[in-house]
Symmetry: C4
Subunit: 453 residues, 4 copies
């Protein structure tokens, strides 16, 4: 049987001769070739265009600073993360990053075991379970990021290659660079998260001092040091109480909070990166609106679309576990907070912290869903441009392109159990509201006896 030009080898002679070898080997070679090709193409294009790779507005370039910061908290341990070339960055078992991660897992694990021990002896209930769940989810997240780091190089090479492809003509750059969008998002969430973390301690200290004032006689205990002693009780359980222990307590608490926020920010960043490319793609197709386009160009466009979709589904499958845990955890914490929405609190600062953290969490979760849904929205944009294809320009290639655009879901998902779309966000919010209404009603019931209406 005669074999025509293959999927990827339409532009290189050496691959065409390779295709005579057996199918089995051909398949296995494919992955390796893909990587090589990405590297080659990157270098070749950069050389040709006279552009430095570092100056390009690639996704890797945009996210690199944040990955560097994450290393300090043992998140996503990658070797050579300081290199500007995505090909150097790989997951290595024997690396400093993984050692840091291991340290965090060990310390976090100990804290979790101590906390679990305290809880199980006291009796587990819905209320005191929250802290334990927070710790366990933290550990799971660290492990998830290790898993994601392992597939990092498999994702980044094709992605960088595609980035370079789409940063040169015929694609046009977006008005706002990827880097500025990512930085803006990270900055906003970062500042808000810092405020949240500080309010946590402030609110905790106020509650503590009032508690001492009312229930104990020894008022000399109302110092921040004593508060921290109570706050980090689980650590004090196995270590003596000194400045080092307290620092350690701050550090591990901070790391867990950073991890939680980083998780969401990372999903948002990835979504921005993917959505930007789909947007550029849509712009390119849009620029052809109403023009007479040769079928070969439509073929090129369609091929680029396939590459984009392949990248999107590669990212989707690699990030499934991260997305799943992030959403599950956020929903759990939101519901838990919603539980306490009618609880009387003592101090204004308690109210401030409660509402601030609830709204911050809701906003962050919505941000994750909304940004991720933009991938899907952007992926569907070219459809309308196809309506304007003139009558004699409507070829089979256009038809296949139109079919391709609608036949698949493009976006992020949690193990494909749920997709990050606006519809899912609405479903989640609706469930939350229904749940809250139930509480509202119960609250109304229990207040009934007291009213004089």
């Amino acid at each position: 049987m005669r074999r025509g030009p293959g999927k990827w080898d339409y532009w290189r002679p050496e691959l065409r001769s390779m295709s005579s070898t057996s199918e089995h080997i051909r398949r296995q070679l494919k992955v390796r070739r893909q990587q090589q090709r990405a590297v080659l193409a990157t270098r070749w294009r950069c050389a040709q265009g006279g552009l430095e790779f570092e100056q390009l507005d690639t996704f890797y370039g945009a996210i690199r600073p944040y990955l560097c910061v994450a290393q300090f908290f043992g998140i996503m341990p990658l070797a050579n993360i300081r290199s500007r070339d995505p090909q150097d960055v790989k997951f290595k078992v024997r690396s400093v990053g993984l050692a840091v991660t291991g340290l965090f897992l060990l310390l976090g694990g100990i804290k979790t075991l101590v906390g679990a021990n305290i809880l199980f002896t006291a009796g587990l209930n819905a209320k005191n379970m929250v802290g334990l769940v927070f710790l366990i989810v933290g550990l799971v997240n660290w492990l998830n990021f290790v898993g994601f780091a392992r597939s990092w190089s498999h994702i980044m090479l094709p992605w960088s290659s595609l980035d370079i492809l789409m940063l040169l003509p015929p694609y046009k750059r977006c008005k706002r660079s990827l880097r500025s969008k990512v930085n803006f998002t990270a900055l906003c969430v970062g500042v808000l998260a810092l405020g949240d973390h500080m309010l946590y301690y402030a609110s905790g200290y106020c509650s503590y001092s009032t508690h001492i004032l009312q229930c104990h006689t020894n008022h000399s205990r109302i110092t921040f040091a004593f508060y921290l002693e109570k706050e980090f009780a689980d650590i004090m359980f196995i270590m003596p109480c000194n400045i080092f222990t307290i620092c350690y307590g701050f550090w591990i608490n901070g790391a867990l909070t950073f991890l939680w926020n980083f998780l969401d920010v990372f999903i948002v960043m990835t979504s921005i990166g993917l959505a930007q490319r789909f947007q550029q793609f849509a712009d390119r197709v849009g620029a052809l609106e109403g023009r007479q386009v040769p079928e070969a160009l439509w073929y090129d466009i369609r091929r680029d679309h396939i590459r984009l979709c392949e990248l999107a589904s590669l990212v989707e499958s690699s990030m499934s576990s991260i997305v799943f845990v992030s959403c599950a955890n956020n929903v759990y914490v939101i519901c838990n907070q919603a539980l306490a929405i009618f609880t009387k609190l003592r101090h204004p600062i308690n109210y401030v912290y409660f509402w601030y953290s609830l709204i911050f969490l809701l906003a962050r979760t919505s941000l994750v869903f909304m940004t991720a849904s933009k991938i899907h929205d952007a992926a569907l944009l070219p459809l309308r441009s196809l309506y304007f294809v003139p009558r004699d320009g409507w070829s089979q290639e256009v038809q296949r392109f139109a079919y391709q655009l609608t036949s698949e879901f493009v976006g992020l998902s949690g193990y494909r159990l749920f997709c990050l779309t606006r519809r899912s966000l609405f479903g989640m919010l609706a469930t939350l509201v229904t749940y809250e209404l139930m509480l509202l009603q119960m609250d109304a019931k229990s207040h009934k006896g007291l009213r004089c209406v």
Copy 2:
């Protein structure tokens, strides 16, 4: 690369020469050209047809009286709203309308702050929160309408242009004019809303008088003036109690109620306007059923459909915030009323007001959903007509038209989180019923002890 005729410029030489300029400028000019074209076309057609623009059954003409009334309540501040030419009506920062809106926002804001202050000192719970939410939603609505007013001219120009296009042959007028439909709806809702508002005061006064009779000894306080003093307690909190203050209380209460009703009525009117055009379009396609239609005509029809869909999505994206707040608020109030469905009330008038306002609200919400869903229903109507296209008349254009009809959702939505369809309405009702059943069951539980079955 040779560039053929563009999207819009395939019929005019001067535009075709324009297309030689750079793509970037071309894109930016497009929006301006579109507006100019709409203006030109409008004038030219009216002159040609010997018809006065005012006599046409346009959407702007139908909705204008209601926008004028709305100005008095600071809703949708537009300059030159009294003009019959939609091109004159624009949002201006320095205008009387915006000043009125600002006044309302100021007064409403003060009322809200005073109310919030009273509530937070007394302790916020599910029951007393309702009034505060009503005020806050009111403020948000005023702001939303300001936002919508800003994009008003961008919507009205293409809409009016399309209206004129579809009021002349080959499109046929609908039996009932747009104006009569809009007026009928506004009248019905208006009268019912007025009744609701009056019953509110009547019911409130009755409750007040009974309360005084039973809990207080000073029966001389049972006058309407004292009732109003209690009703407008939040205003009296910062202002002396006199006839002016009471009028102000009536006025701001009335404005908020008007705003709430206008919100829904406005969505309904817009839906009627869009649905009418889609209906006319479907009628035109239907008239071709079974006939031999040249491909060029199908092309024209398809192009009109694209224009209709573009208008619909322009309106959809501009009204997202209005639709979202309207639906969220309605659902909230309905659920809140449902909470009290088994509460014992003192007076028959309390029952009358309670059930009247609940049913009115349910009916209004359903009306919003049902009217909005008609856009979608009407947009799908031409599909069946395409079944009757004869065998030799089935060309590529028809196929593309059929594909176009089914590939997109046409209708209103709240940030695309939910669409205003019958299915959404059912989902909402089902959730409401489930919620009500829960209450029913709890009510049954609490009555258990008293029965002798």
Copy 3:
């Protein structure tokens, strides 16, 4: 300015001449012609085939006996219902049927008012509301059936015409005739409903006698007559207690129960009738599997499919109100029964009645959904047959037919708020189960104190 094949002049001379006859009149004539054609075709075909119309297995023939019975209860008042020719049966304002319906509406209305009066003075709650809802739903149903009777002749003429078409070759008859299926269903439901109705009285009498034995000293009141006096308390409220009043009580109770059951059975019958035709259609397409079929035959098949779909959507829109009320009422009663699922009852017969009526109701509701969903299932059957169309037989007509099969929903719905499909049934059941689980959990809570585990 030169105007080419421009935007505004798409109606070209040849088309204008084509539509020289007024479109408006043409449209209005179409409906009348369609009816006449149906009548003519019916007579002509019967004459040609030498077959008597009465002997054909038409839907009208199958359902006629049940309509006759329904007349006695004032349901669906049609004149000349005893005629075997569907063209004679029409809704007439001045007819015996409508008078009977009016009588029922009057008597039912009085009963409802009396009952409502009693309830509102005693205080409405979730428990005692059931009886009132049952009465109101009954009245609504009578009115709904009057509404449906008005559109009866518009439905039956095309249906009968289609029936005749599909009872002659090339369509083959189904194994089991429509008549036998309808009779079987009606018999089963009828017998079970009769049992349910009898158990109602038996269970009520037992409860009554026990109640008297325990709460009263006057044991002489334990007779069936006294029970009936209590049972029909609302009638006794305005009428003296005698044998006539009791008969009247029995009669109106029976009529309401018959109406409720007839509602569901009627939907089931209609569904069977439609599904049978779609099944026959699928069989015909299936018989062409793998054969070389001329395009003209595909055209004929497609045209028959359009007729079937038109009939289905005509029935769907006419029956919307009936389907909606039926489902809403069934779900309400099921939920209400589920409420009492853990209530302790006194007598075994109470248990028997409770479970019998609950299971009967669940089965009937499921039957409605399952039979109705068969329309949709049968409508999709031809799709698979199209897979077997040989390569050179795959023409445009087949493609259009395939598209037509999947592009629309065929089936019954309640105002298109929900469709009668298996998926809806599952959604309903799932909600019911969730609700029941809630009760289960509350039941478990309240028993907690009593256990020794």
Copy 4:
């Protein structure tokens, strides 16, 4: 107007001659022919390839050992199950297998009746209902498997025939054989289920002994024998207490547990079997990516796809009842366990058993859904390969194949009320979580009084 190939005369002479052989007989012969063809093809292929049927990695070969084991528990009574030829294995009314099933049904029925009797006298509530439901579901499962055994030969013949077809070129074998996958799954679930069963007795004994220690004075009763006497109280109710009775108790308990686990494992196995074939099919299509493929080969591929889909829907409809009962029961038990999630238990072993069995159950249910969803996922895989079909290779056959891939749902379902997909699993989990949140909230309420926060 001339009437061409008119509305009524669509069956033309030439078509009538085409179908001169009776359609009815032709249809009935088709099924028989299909079976014969399967047998012939199997033998012929095996002979040609020089392969023994037993050595092939067929689904029947993989599942046979488990069917043999199931015979001992009266599950799926098939005659000649020990034969390696799937054609020998049939359902026979007079067989040892059915006798064993009858015995189990009898014994299980007696146990159920005794249990029901005890329960109804004590009063049925949500808590003690669980055991009875377990028994009844067991009986239903036995009957379901008898029903499935009846259609076994109708499923296995086409399946085996397809297996053989897909184990020879041009299809390639998967890396991991079907047999190893099935064995791995069965082993894992089997070992875990055994652990669960043992923990059940251990936990029960511990609870029993504590109960005796605290509530009774006669501590001599704390032996395993006495525990069993209580555990099998329903059997002791009608039989004397001796070693035989206890063995019988163990045996019937074990059989029910085996049945419950086998049910899920059987669905998983079937899913693996189907998914494997769809995966192979996708691999074959994938190998053609980018190549020039003759239309005839596309036709062959499409025909194989039809056969695969037909097998899948045959299996789906036959297993509907099994899938439905399995899922319903699992969800019921999970919800029931979730009910007790905050109940205080006495012994660590009680906790271990409770959480072990809950997590095992959740994992098993998820396994069922995830494995079954793989069928659907694998069935959609070829779609992406079609994107790479070169421009001049895109023929009508490919288009039809693409349409065929997306037009139907492939997978398992419970009476098509719900499909075993990831989305359904998510819906189930979400409902469960909402339910659990409700409990959480109630638990929090009831603990409120005790806290000092």
